[in-house]
């Protein structure tokens, strides 16, 4: 594959930025900081997709980049920001493991994915190989974040970080069809579920749940 050294280096640099943001997500304690870091990761992902669109000469990947930029870096963080404020849980900090151990586990997962991916992709193009190792690391870090967090908002962010890794893998696989459709499907999944579960839940929290609490309380007294 004829790619110049510079495009190769830059692709890795952007991929590594996505991975670094994945690490940052592991140790953020405040929910707003988690959301900001996630937005940063999404911007890096958008850059990665745009760069791949450029070097692979695959214009449809620009659509993926735009989706990442508009939906993941803007709409979702804003919506979750609003949600956190409404629920009044800005100050909550929930981790199941200490940050030190979480980071160690994260490093272990990155090592694992490099050890796993590089040998099995010996025949693939170098660009794909290393991007794939980066992408798999991002996926595993997202998974780790989902495990170590208890709060629903940070779990969603963990899931979307995992998904960022998946999209990174898909855009790095040269000529993979349907990447755009897949990223749209993911966005719809997240958006609809957030809408379906969270927003109704909030409405109920303000309208009816108080009443409900009252009723249960009375029932318990009898």
């Amino acid at each position: 594959m004829a790619i110049s050294q510079i495009s190769y280096e830059l692709a890795h640099l952007i991929g590594a930025t996505v991975l670094m943001a994945g690490f940052q997500l592991l140790y953020q304690r405040r929910l707003f900081a988690v959301l900001n870091t996630f937005a940063f990761q999404a911007v890096a992902l958008a850059a990665a997709a745009a760069w791949q669109a450029h070097i692979q000469d695959a214009p449809h990947l620009y659509v993926t980049a735009v989706i990442a930029l508009v939906f993941k870096a803007m709409i979702v963080p804003f919506a979750l920001h609003w949600l956190v404020e409404k629920l009044g849980i800005q100050r909550s900090v929930e981790t199941a493991m200490s940050i030190g151990w979480t980071m160690m586990a994260g490093v272990g997962l990155v090592a694992l994915s490099i050890l796993l991916v590089l040998p099995v992709t010996a025949n693939a193009a170098a660009l794909t190989r290393e991007s794939l190792a980066l992408a798999m690391s991002v996926v595993l870090l997202g998974l780790l974040m989902m495990i170590t967090r208890r709060n629903a908002v940070s779990q969603v962010v963990g899931f979307m970080a995992l998904e960022n890794g998946l999209i990174l893998a898909a855009v790095s696989a040269k000529g993979m069809p349907l990447v755009v459709e897949i990223s749209i499907a993911f966005s719809v999944l997240v958006a609809m579920t957030l809408f379906g579960i969270f927003f109704f839940r909030i409405r109920e929290r303000f309208d009816t749940l108080d009443l409900h609490d009252l009723e249960t309380w009375r029932g318990d007294r009898q």
């Binding site: 796993l116 693939a124 998904e163 890794g165 998946l166 696989a173 000529g175 897949i182 579920t193």
Partner: protein, 496 residues
């Protein structure tokens, strides 16, 4: 994108109707205000879809870039549209009785009917997709529609169940997508770039030349990913909650259909990796996950107090048996697996039809509060007894036949593996039999509500699907038509 549009089926192609009718109905039902009309539109759309899938038997369209029909998926399409139709009939009765107890608002009902058709569409798309990417998008959308339906009642438990379902299954399908990407990379050196490189019909011809190491890694991701959706232990924990808290017609289609669709996706990848001699053998992995699901579910059955959770665990058990059978491989075990898929699907949805009415009548899902069904509601009670005995594996029902085939094919090839299999089946049988005795016989409990107001028509409507399914399962246990046996054998051959 434009390239795909040109490969959509034409008007003379049954696939257009099979996919178009549910999709159109989903849109129409979303704007239809009257729920009484909506239940019937739902039934009619499902019936037309079933009719169109019957046409596939006569007129099999040639594969294109987007969709294809072969011996394997045609039977699942038929099963899905059939159970989709009977469940729609049951749902009409269920909803009529549910609105009598005022648990659902008009908006919720509109949403429910629209999502039901959307769910059928996504499952049928997953089954007929000739492209790993399209299949993945379809399975993902099926998850989305069911998450929203599980949370329909908006109780605390329902929201929690939907949340757990969303988190676990989204991660699962996320990993499945990573596996799909890896399969594409493994195929790329032989298949080249572009849409053809993800088409089943193309891939299976070249699968022997895919890079074996990448295929191994890919299969692990696909197994964990789609395995979560099948409900294989230890990835099953979303399943009982999702079945228990959603509306009962949804439990019926989740158990009877969605698990099959996820397993279908897994088996397609198994076919690819089996075709590659240098890659790992997927059989032992499937056998192990199958057995662990069987045992876990069999033990859990003893401790259930909630009737819907009880049968949700029974679904895990049976998906375990089916996965075990496909893991064993070979013509006979594959035949048994295919037959068990069909029998489980028919019987389990019939059980959920019965459970839906039972819990509406009793006003509770607690097993301890349900007594003497055979004397208080004879037609329902005996139908329920028949269905539970069938799922527990009593002869002469079809489930017995398929379980017998699984066991005997295992004895013939790996006698040692047959011991845990039989043990697990007996354990599960014991649990179901003791629960059944508690619920079906003895002094009946007084019906609590809604029951008195339900009209005779809706009672007949609710019971017909149950008895139709049981009749089919009984006939299949006594006599399988020659054509059907040959067909199953042909598919068992493809599966390798």
């Amino acid at each position: 994108m434009i390239g795909y549009l040109s490969s959509l089926p034409g008007a003379d192609n049954p696939l257009l109707w099979i996919l178009g009718v549910p999709l159109g109905a989903a849109g129409f039902l979303a704007v239809l205000r009257d729920w009484r009309v909506a239940t019937w539109v739902n039934v009619a759309a499902s019936a037309i879809t079933f009719g169109a899938s019957l046409l596939l038997l006569r007129l099999r369209p040639p594969p294109n870039k987007l969709l294809f029909i072969d011996d394997f998926n045609i039977y699942l399409v038929l099963l899905t549209t059939f159970v989709g139709m009977t469940t729609a009939v049951f749902s009409a009765a269920y909803i009529a009785r549910e609105t009598a107890s005022e648990r659902l608002s008009e908006l919720h009902l509109r949403f429910y009917h629209s999502m039901y058709q959307a769910f059928l569409f996504t499952m049928l798309l997953a089954l007929t997709a000739n492209n790993t990417g399209v299949m993945w998008v379809a399975v993902e959308s099926a998850t989305l529609t069911t998450v929203l339906m599980v949370s329909l009642y908006r109780t605390r438990e329902a929201i929690e169940a939907a949340w757990k379902y969303f988190i676990l299954c989204s991660v699962g399908i996320g990993l499945a997508l990573f596996g799909t990407t890896l399969v594409y990379l493994a195929a790329q050196p032989v298949m080249g770039d572009g849409a053809e490189a993800m088409a089943w019909t193309m891939m299976i011809k070249q699968a022997h030349a895919f890079q074996p190491d990448l295929m191994n890694l890919a299969f692990v991701f696909v197994l964990v990913g789609y395995g979560t959706k099948v409900g294989l232990a230890p990835l099953h924990s979303w399943l009982p909650d999702a079945h228990a808290e959603g509306p009962t017609p949804i439990s019926a289609v989740l158990s009877g259909l969605l698990l099959n669709v996820a397993l279908y996706a897994l088996l397609r990848f198994k076919m690819l990796i089996s075709a590659n001699e240098n890659a790992l053998t997927p059989g032992p992995l499937l056998v192990m996950m199958g057995l662990s699901s069987l045992f876990l579910a069999a033990f859990m059955l003893y401790r259930r107090g909630d009737i819907k959770r009880l049968f949700a665990y029974s679904s895990i058990e049976h998906m375990g048996v089916i996965t075990f059978a496909f893991g064993m491989g070979g013509a006979l075990a594959n035949f048994a697996g295919l037959m068990h898929m069909t029998m489980h699907s028919l019987t389990k949805s019939a059980i959920f039809f019965a459970v839906g009415i039972i819990s509406q009548n009793a006003g509770t899902k607690r097993i301890a509060d349900i007594r003497g069904l055979t004397s208080s509601h004879p037609v329902l009670g005996w139908g329920f007894v028949l269905a539970v005995l069938a799922i527990a594996g009593m002869p002469p029902m079809g489930v017995f036949m398929s379980e017998f085939l699984v066991v005997s094919s295992t004895f013939a090839r790996q006698p040692l593996l047959a011991i845990p299999l039989v043990l697990g089946l007996l354990l599960a049988f014991g649990a179901l039999a003791s629960r059944l005795q508690m619920m079906a016989f003895g002094e009946p409990t007084k019906p609590v509500h809604a029951h008195a107001r339900a009209s005779t028509l809706s009672s007949i409507l609710a019971l017909t699907p149950l008895w139709v399914h049981m009749l089919l399962v009984l006939v299949a246990g006594l006599y399988l038509p020659r054509e059907l046996v040959e067909w199953f054998q042909a598919v068992a051959g493809i599966l390798g």
